[in-house]
Amino acid sequence: MKKEDTVKLISAEGMEFVIDKEAAMVSQTIRNMLTSPGGFAEAEHGEVTFPEISAVILEKICQYFYWSLQYSRGKETDELFSFIIRMVFLSGRSTYVVRVLALCCIA
């Protein structure tokens, strides 16, 4: 993968996830971060730090991005919900679920 097409998402523990820009842009917030005029640090370095999201959650989030790209054309909402439920049980910290949802702007 070329450097220009990727972004680095860094979790609270410092674990780095390098994913495609296209995948990251699924999240409106991340998209704004990277495309906002004015040269915020994220856009300049191509790195986004999430000091409050643990690596486990961030991993699931990245998986969501890729899943979303693949399946968003044929909307199957059952799949979506089951995915989220799986993620909730995995984390045990329900607040993070809310954060993630906010991050991904599913609402």
């Binding site: 409106q28 917030t29 704004n32 971060m33 906002s36 005029p37 004015g38 040269g39 915020f40 640090a41 994220e42 856009a43 300049e44 986004v48 730090t49 999430f50 409050e52 329900s94 607040t95 906010a102």
Partner: protein
């Protein structure tokens, strides 16, 4: 097991994070405030979007959205006040540039702020029904900068100044203008309209008022129109380059009103260069320009049309009532055709063939053609001239074109039945003397008349053609049956059906013996095949070809009328004849005889007879001799063919009388037709209906119609209603 503790599963409620730090909100806000400052100072590169976003998110989440929003408003307002000071401080031309630069900065900052505060935009603001961040930013800009006392007026005057400069020919920075105007448009259409468009339109109106006044004093019509067009195009271009598209209609209205509508009358009637002069000089370009410009203005086109119509009627009237042109009918009609061609071309080229103008042209022509009561006769004479010689050597398409043009004039005639009468007379003469140039052209014209006026109009004319054809066949049959006559004089007879041909009085004429015998043979042959018919010889319309030998032995073939032939044959038996003797022998009526002798004795080059005394007129005591000294370059000499001429006064009156007579039965037929279908009708309606029905032939006179009604009442076709004197009833 009793030792086992019961474990209660407690399901805790979903709790937000407890706010440990009471000054939490304040601290978070400070971070954001600092960020906004940095953004406005172009220092944003060090900031972390995620951190700011998180902070804003947290504030809203913990119900501090109100604080965040109001803080935002205060901070932005403060910044904008500083910005406005710096803009005010800009000198002269830099003012607009500074404004633009600051606007761009503000826009960028606003977007960044919106991005970080996105969460608030989506949750807090809809709930509390406040203005979203981006719109808030625009409103604050508008209130603090554009509507700030010093900047507002300065901005407007700068913009108007620039527009004025461009109008006077200077080049301005259009990109700058475009951006500034776009800024105003982005702030809201009411801002654009109130702060710029309205004053712009007012100033423009003033400007054009002054300019149009200046131009109209010094320019002539064509130049003024050119200038107006240039200005109009300029304004349209200006809109395209840097103003709102919606303003186009408004500014063009202003220009049209000031430059065109206010001076319309003066332009059209301008001396030496106004509309009338343009029409006379065929100035297609100027006329086209005037048409396009006036089209934009209410009543513009109708003014052009009215002036053109009145001018056309004036010139037409002069043309038609001019005594000089009335002398030569062909010339008369040709001038009418030329006039029509000219205006047709003008309308086609300059007025884009507009229907209303075509109609105006047609109505004007209709008006003045009918002012001269001899127009139908003249048109028929024109056609006659063309069909006799004018169309020789002209190609088929050109023939069609000329005939079509004549048809156009024909349509304008109100008294089409007068035309029919004259046309019949002229056609008869053409056919009988064999003088038509092209049979096809004749037939083509008949077809056109039929399309125009219906079968009835042309049935008799077609009958004339049929007669000619039948006569040819009859002659062939005659000579086939009588082969012994092949050596004698050749007889050609045209048998004319009385109804189709113009009525001629039968005139007496004694044919020479050889001819008389031949004619009798023909008569018996014809009556043998067609019983129940009556033949009468029309000696005044015939022609003859005779061979003559003169004193010095010169031989000539003379083409003469029948009368002239009778006279000349007398000289076979006598050398000298007096007028009285000729008159007795031939029994030709006096006026015709005199004319016939005159053409043979007094016309130079055709004087086959010698007269004593050598005066121009024929007196009853004159004596005639064969002119032995007659010479001519040609072998075949034509003397005195029967040409269609313009009628003399008494002839004209006679024809008109006949036309009037013919109209009476037509009016009566129309009245009966109408009453039969309506049964009961009042006087005025009868007149209206009759006029309408007869419109295609002639204009019916109401008094005449009244007379016909009286006559019909007398003959018991109609009756007057017993109660209402104005009502008529149909009697079956």
């Amino acid at each position: 097991m009793s030792n086992q503790k019961k474990r209660n599963f407690q399901i805790e409620a979903f709790k937000h994070r407890v706010v440990v730090d009471p000054k939490y909100a304040e601290k978070t806000w400070k971070i954001l405030e600092h960020a906004i400052h940095e953004i406005y100072n172009h220092n944003a590169s060090g900031l972390s979007f995620e951190e700011l976003y998180r902070n804003a998110y947290n504030m809203v989440l913990h119900k501090f959205g109100e604080k965040l929003y109001s803080g935002l408003v205060t901070t932005m307002t403060a910044h904008l006040k500083e910005i406005s000071k710096s803009i005010e401080a800009a000198q002269g031309d830099l003012f607009l540039e500074e404004l633009n630069r600051k606007w761009n900065d503000h826009n960028k900052a606003l977007q960044m702020i919106r991005d970080i505060l996105m969460y608030m935009d989506r949750t807090y603001i809809p709930n509390s029904r406040k203005t979203p961040v981006y719109e808030l930013g625009l409103n604050l800009w508008r209130d603090n900068i554009i509507h700030s006392g010093k900047i507002q007026s300065r901005l407007l005057s700068t913009l108007l100044e620039l527009v004025h400069r461009e109008r006077t020919g200077e080049v301005i920075d259009r990109g700058l203008m475009r951006n500034t105007i776009k800024m105003l448009m982005d702030l809201g259409s009411s801002v654009y309209q109130d702060d710029f468009e309205k004053p712009f339109l007012e100033v423009s109106a003033e400007f054009y008022k002054v300019e149009s006044q200046k131009f109209i004093e010094c320019c002539d019509c064509g130049d003024y129109l050119k200038k107006a067009e240039i200005r109009l195009n300029e304004e349209i271009e200006r809109i395209a380059h840097y103003l709102d598209v919606k303003s186009e209609a408004k500014i063009t209205n202003v220009v049209e009103k000031e430059m065109i509508a206010n001076h319309m009358t003066r332009l059209v009637h301008m001396e030496n260069s106004g509309l009338v002069n343009m029409l006379l000089d065929d100035k297609y370009e100027d006329l086209g320009r005037m048409y396009n410009l006036f089209k934009r203005v209410p009543n513009g086109l109708s003014m052009i049309r009215d002036v053109m119509t009145s001018h056309l009627r004036e010139t037409g009237k002069q043309l038609v009532t001019d005594a000089e042109s009335s002398k030569d009918p062909v010339e008369f009609v040709q001038r009418l055709l030329d006039e029509r061609d000219k205006y047709d071309k003008i309308i086609c080229q300059a007025f884009s063939n507009a229907k209303t103008f075509q109609n105006a042209l047609n109505s004007s022509f209709e008006y003045f053609i009918n002012l001269n009561s001899r127009s139908p006769e003249f048109i028929s004479l024109f056609v006659d001239d063309k069909l006799r010689k004018g169309l020789k050597g002209v190609s088929e398409e050109d023939v069609e074109i000329i005939l079509d043009k004549v048809m156009m004039l024909f349509r304008y005639l109100q008294e089409k039945d007068v035309f029919e009468k004259y046309y019949k007379q002229h056609l008869a003469k053409r056919l009988l003397s064999g003088k038509t140039v092209s049979d096809d052209a004749e037939r083509s014209l008949i077809v056109k008349l039929k399309t125009e006026c219906g079968y009835q109009f042309t049935s008799k004319l077609e009958g004339m053609f049929t007669d000619m054809k039948t006569s040819q066949d009859t002659m062939q049959g005659f000579y086939a049956n009588h082969p012994e006559l092949a050596e004698g004089p050749t007889l050609v007879v045209q048998v004319l059906t009385t109804g189709s041909w113009p009525t001629q009085p039968t005139i007496t004429c004694n044919l020479p013996t050889e001819m008389a015998a031949l004619c009798e043979k023909f008569r018996s042959h014809y009556l043998g095949t067609h019983t129940g018919r009556r033949l009468s010889w029309q000696t005044n319309m015939g022609t003859a070809d005779i061979k003559a030998t003169f004193g010095k032995g010169q031989k000539h073939e003379l083409n003469v009328s029948t009368y002239q032939m009778c006279v000349l044959m007398l000289f076979n038996n006598a050398d000298r004849l007096s007028y009285k003797e000729i008159e007795q022998a031939t029994e030709i009526p006096a006026s015709d005889l005199k004319r016939c002798l005159q053409s043979m004795a007094c016309v130079k080059g055709k004087n086959v007879l010698r007269k004593e005394p050598m005066s121009k007129d024929i007196g009853t005591d004159d004596a005639f001799f064969v002119n032995d000294k007659f010479t001519s370059k040609f072998y075949k000499v034509k003397i005195g063919t029967v040409v269609a001429q313009k009628e003399s006064e008494p002839e004209k009156l006679e024809t008109r009388q006949r036309v009037e007579e013919d109209r009476k039965p037509q009016i009566e037929a129309a009245i009966v037709r109408i009453m039969k279908s309506r049964r009961v009708l009042d006087h005025n309606n009868v007149i209206a209906e009759v006029t309408k029905q007869l419109q295609s032939r002639f204009l019916a006179n109401p008094t005449e119609i009244k007379k016909r009604i009286e006559s019909l009442i007398e003959r018991e076709f109609l009756e007057r209603d017993s109660d209402d004197r104005k009502l008529y009833r149909y009697l079956a």
